[in-house]
Symmetry: C2
Subunit: 349 residues, 2 copies
DNA sequence: CTCCTAAATGTAAACGTTTAGATTTTCTTA
DNA sequence: TAAGAAAATCTAAACGTTTACATTTAGGAG
């Protein structure tokens, strides 16, 4: 009983034509109950499993979507993926997941492969927002939705987190606590999240009449190491900041590590706010205040948009969703008494 | 210029037959340079991309492997996945990833779908080691390798971590520090890791003539919550343990959280060793000692074994690898002075 | 210039489905 | 019970490749 049975074998055994078998496999109805049972029995006995490749050849669709993430080790993406997968499974879709390690070249290859395989749609967090490597996909009429990073030159549905709002609120929170020397550890400025979180930071300072101080701006790369370096550099400043805003989870980890190593008193000498919740946030003392992103929801929404595109091929205009992040206030930001020593004696007002 | 070009179109445009085109697509040689260039040009101009489904119909293989994990949110699996993916890409394979949420039913469905798609192989961490749902895959002659959890009734290549050794060493370490009342937070006993880590624990106690105390054995389920509950229960004991060994990462997190909430002095009143390294390990004070698994290597090896099976279909006997975990000694285990108050005054020899 | 051989290219038959459209069977109704 | 309609079933043609085998072409040797 090799795994060889095909629809022919089933048809023969059930004494019907392959068309009828096909009908019951896809429950299209119009088959007498008695016949159906006979066919089902034959399928059972032969251990028949339909061949997806052959099916795809005729019907075009694969019930497969391709998912591209830049870094599978960043816990943000598995979470998003979980959301995607859940919704996908509900609708009978499967997901091919590939990680680019932030390499546009790899991304290009993966996309080509996705097209070869005839994926019904693509969900992507691109490694290169300005690239034209996405063109090929769109040209094939394959729907695409961008997650977390938007795409420059093409109109694709996009699901973002409101980064500006998130970082604005975080920085605002620190300002309202009396901080004036607030540093930021930035992400790469050629990525949407990196850029936007910086914008929120600037906007908050502006709205509260604090001037931007170059010394307090550290350019990181979203990697743990750069967070570590950032904190070190800020610490080495003559005039240290009293608060730090870190632009993503990994840098937060690096940053907090450095703060610990430097014996910089978190929540006292230095307040802290991070973008993205992290496991460690509630383990260190004081607990970290963070901006939390609705990752699962992001994934669910992304699939939902994609699915709509897959089903109704009509050209609906591009849609863009911005999900609001949530401020989780814990303990790493303490009231600050401006212009005075940090002992809290001379409370202003 | 719809994304419709097929091999026929290319052939026509290059003024050759489809056979020749096929030959250059698969670089099989035997095509005059001049002709090849003409074909390449046509491909370029038409934006032709070969149809994987049609290809698969003839040549049988899909260059796709299916990967099944029980919980995509457990950081262990993305790490393994990264290893798999890296090796796979090197060999021109792609991976379909699906998460079962520990549900054997879902797992069964996914496997069926994998067969439909004609994956060339399967890498799986099964949700049900005793299930016969794996039979269908093997029957189709699809190679399979098990990762982290072995499979009962079938002979498949297996890549494991030496759980017994890991937990043995961890417990041994605590014993040698003088601990006698060592508790364990177990994983489910119907999974290999859960079982084996418990065995290592028992063995260590036995070897050092410590008797197993039922009160110090807490049955968890590898989830964070159960770790939390475990620590609570142990704390509520009249005669508290002086050390805890936690069987996995998530339970470690729960456990450490509880210890914090209970104000149980980590590293002083209670020593701790966890299986699996976690982000938080180096953030809390004292830093956590853990057993660390070579996750990336696990994934790489798994793919390698699978690839061998795919290439050489000959029935090689089942192979089983056990990778050694590594003990990372940090600070959460302190010397214990047995039989005396924990103030360390009465050091026994 | 022929002939022969080897290299290059072409022809046509699968692969396993789905699905119009044709045909047969069953059921209803007069 | 026959006719007609409706339901069930069948036939055959795709889908886009790969590949064994057949055919043509090129290039030397005589």
């Amino acid at each position: 009983m090799e795994g060889k049975a095909n629809i022919q074998d089933v048809a023969k055994r059930a004494n019907v034509s392959i068309a009828t078998v096909s009908r019951v496999i896809n429950n299209q109805g119009g088959v007498r109950k008695q016949t159906e049972e006979r066919i089902l029995k034959a399928i059972q006995e032969l251990g028949y499993i339909r061949n997806a490749a052959a099916r795809t050849m005729k019907s075009k669709d694969t019930k497969t979507i391709g998912v591209i993430v830049p870094d599978i080790n960043n816990p943000f993406f598995p979470s998003v993926m979980a959301g995607i997968e859940q919704k996908a499974r509900e609708k009978g879709y499967f997901a091919i997941l590939s990680s680019t390690n932030e390499s546009p070249v790899v991304e290009q290859e993966i996309l080509k492969n996705f097209i070869e395989r005839g994926v019904d749609g693509v969900i992507i967090t691109t490694a290169n927002e300005n690239g034209d490597h996405l063109k090929q996909v769109l040209e094939q009429g394959i729907p695409m939705v961008a997650v977390d990073r938007s795409i420059q030159y093409y109109d694709v549905d996009t699901v973002l987190v409101d980064n500006v709002k998130g970082s604005y609120q975080a920085v605002q929170h620190m300002i309202l606590q009396g901080h004036e020397k607030i540093a930021i550890i930035c992400g790469p400025q050629n990525t949407t999240p990196g850029r936007e979180r910086f914008i929120g930071y600037k906007k908050a300072l502006e709205d509260y009449n604090l001037k931007l101080d170059e010394r307090y701006i550290f350019q990181g790369d979203f990697g743990e190491r750069s967070g570590y370096q950032g904190a070190h550099q800020l610490y080495s400043l003559e005039d240290r900041p009293t608060a730090i805003f870190s632009s993503n989870n990994l840098m937060t980890i690096g940053c907090v590590k450095a703060i610990g190593d430097l014996d910089w008193k978190l929540g006292e000498e230095i307040s802290f706010f991070g973008f993205d919740d992290v496991d460690i946030a509630t383990f260190i003392n004081p607990k970290l205040s963070v901006v939390s992103r609705p990752m699962h929801a992001l994934g669910e929404l992304a699939f939902q948009l994609l699915h709509e595109r897959i089903q109704f091929k009509d050209p609906v205009p591009k849609r863009e969703y911005k999900l609001s992040p949530e401020l989780i206030i814990r303990e790493s930001c303490r009231l600050r008494y401006p212009k005075s020593s940090p002992d809290g004696q001379s409370l202003k007002k």
